[in-house]
Symmetry: C2
Subunit: 309 residues, 2 copies
């Protein structure tokens, strides 16, 4: 396990505990703990699990004899693309696997039954990741829709912020349910335009992860939204959480992508406007209620896209 | 508004309050309150909002000059069909509209922003229902997939029981997310086999309602599951809730339908076994973890159905 410059890997190796991010859980002694750059020989399988914004920084250390697994959930802000594109460009000879799903870290550490998806265009690599991660309380499916799995995992963080905002405003499960369903519609459309499959958005990495993230006090993205809905500033919300909330950056990418692809995304746009302090959250929800389409046409022809009737 | 034999409609009319089911909210004085049979002339639009098991009992009183709206969310246990089939058979000259979505009654009464879908094969009737129900905090979409809307609204109650069971067992959002995603997969497959559209299950009446129901202490189905997960008997759970939990009956219909249609539905089957007291909830979840397919293939060919690989 390689840490970044700010990580006290010596302490982690000694105490076998990550006091900063996962206190209270003993880490395995079966792996080496070191700072990136301290170990130069390629590993058998490399797992990248840093915030997506710094994936490009750790890439030089991702040398692997086998697959390179991406556990980060986000998009690359400089290219608006999925992280696997970045990794594949750096390591064209390795298969890249995305590992995603409703996998809140604390619950995983507690041994709570959890399911994930390992997605790769190469089935053998996906199956290898599945088998390596196998545990009685952790089951991994395989899928070949890596782009869909990455997009679903990244974009759901935007919707989790929206769910937090709704709850922070004191709205109910009716509001949150509508927001998430219509939001899922928006991000699924972005995904379809980029070549992802619809069933991925309906699966573990899509709806499954969205369910877990959008209602959990353990989700940093949900908590950022909750704080915003309760009237705090973004700066204050992020500082009080003290960890990276991927959805904040991903929201900018999502709205850029939606505009570029011609996908109407009023919910993502509203969340971005709230994040930027451009609109009051309560007003944004009222405006969304006005803007919602009058016909439920989820993924059908342009004639039934929101705003056209 | 017509009540059944057990409803004290005189009291409701006098106090404009339904003390039994919705205490604390003043009802409108713009409608008449009477017991079924006391008013014989057809209304302009009839809304059936009784538990689905007694829809056939109130049918003789559903005479309407316009559309007949079904707000009940369930299936007809004697035919395993949707309620609209029942209503259409009784009133072949009326258009039947299903009104569904994340619409927890207390939140609606509180004026919390809420969205619904009015589905009918006749667009004019759907639009009429949309316009009649229009309110600043209640927005109604239209759809032509009435079967999908009814199936999604009914079958999600089964999954809400499952979500409650998982929470009752002390599992986390990871478990619930996986359970709901795979469960949605099962019920969407049942729906597709019956001619419903996939986008309906991804929409307000599908994912939207599932989100609201599966995490809400206000949902009777969720509470039944929660009690079962905490070790109570079904009888005790139903008695302590004191209201109808549609999902209990719908679960039997769902598993019958799945078998008849050749859809593998391990999650619905497990919930039914728990409801029947045939399996311990904790053991059922463990068995589900074992049985989950190794490949995430949501709505693709039979080769990727659960159990085939």
């Amino acid at each position: 396990m390689l840490g970044g410059e700010q990580d006290d890997m010596a302490s982690i190796a000694e105490h076998r505990e990550n006091l900063r991010y996962l206190p209270g859980f003993l880490l395995t002694k079966d792996v080496r703990y070191a700072r990136a750059g301290e170990i130069d020989d390629p590993c058998d399988m490399c797992v990248i699990a840093v915030p997506s914004g710094v994936v490009h920084e750790v890439l030089p250390y991702a040398k692997s004899k086998g697959p390179i697994v991406i556990a980060s959930k986000g998009l690359e802000p400089t290219t608006d693309g999925v992280l696997s594109d970045l990794v594949e460009a750096a390591y064209p000879d390795n298969h890249v696997v995305a590992l995603s799903g409703p996998n809140l870290a604390v619950e995983l550490a507690q041994g709570i039954p959890t399911v994930a998806v390992a997605a790769c265009t190469d089935e053998v690599s996906a199956a290898l990741v599945r088998d390596v991660f196998f545990a009685p309380t952790y089951r991994v499916y395989i899928s070949d829709d890596i782009k869909g799995v990455e997009l679903a995992g990244a974009l759901k963080n935007v919707l989790a912020i929206g769910a937090g905002i709704s709850d922070g405003l004191g709205f109910g499960d009716n509001t949150k349910g509508a927001l998430l369903a219509r939001g899922l519609n928006e991000v699924a459309r972005i995904g379809l335009k980029l070549g992802a499959r619809l069933d991925t958005f309906l699966g573990i990495a899509g709806v499954g992860d969205l369910f877990a993230t959008a209602s959990s006090k353990l989700s940093r993205n949900y908590r950022v939204g909750l704080a915003l809905g309760q009237g705090q500033t973004l700066q204050y919300a992020l500082t009080s959480i003290g960890q990276v909330a991927e959805g904040v950056t991903t929201c900018q990418v999502a709205t850029r992508l939606a505009r570029k692809l011609g996908v109407q995304a009023p919910i993502c746009e509203a969340i971005e406007a709230i994040l930027n302090g451009k609109v009051d959250p309560r007003r944004a929800v009222s405006e969304l209620m006005e803007r919602l389409p009058r016909r439920e046409g989820v993924l059908v022809g342009d004639a039934e896209l929101p705003g056209n009737n």
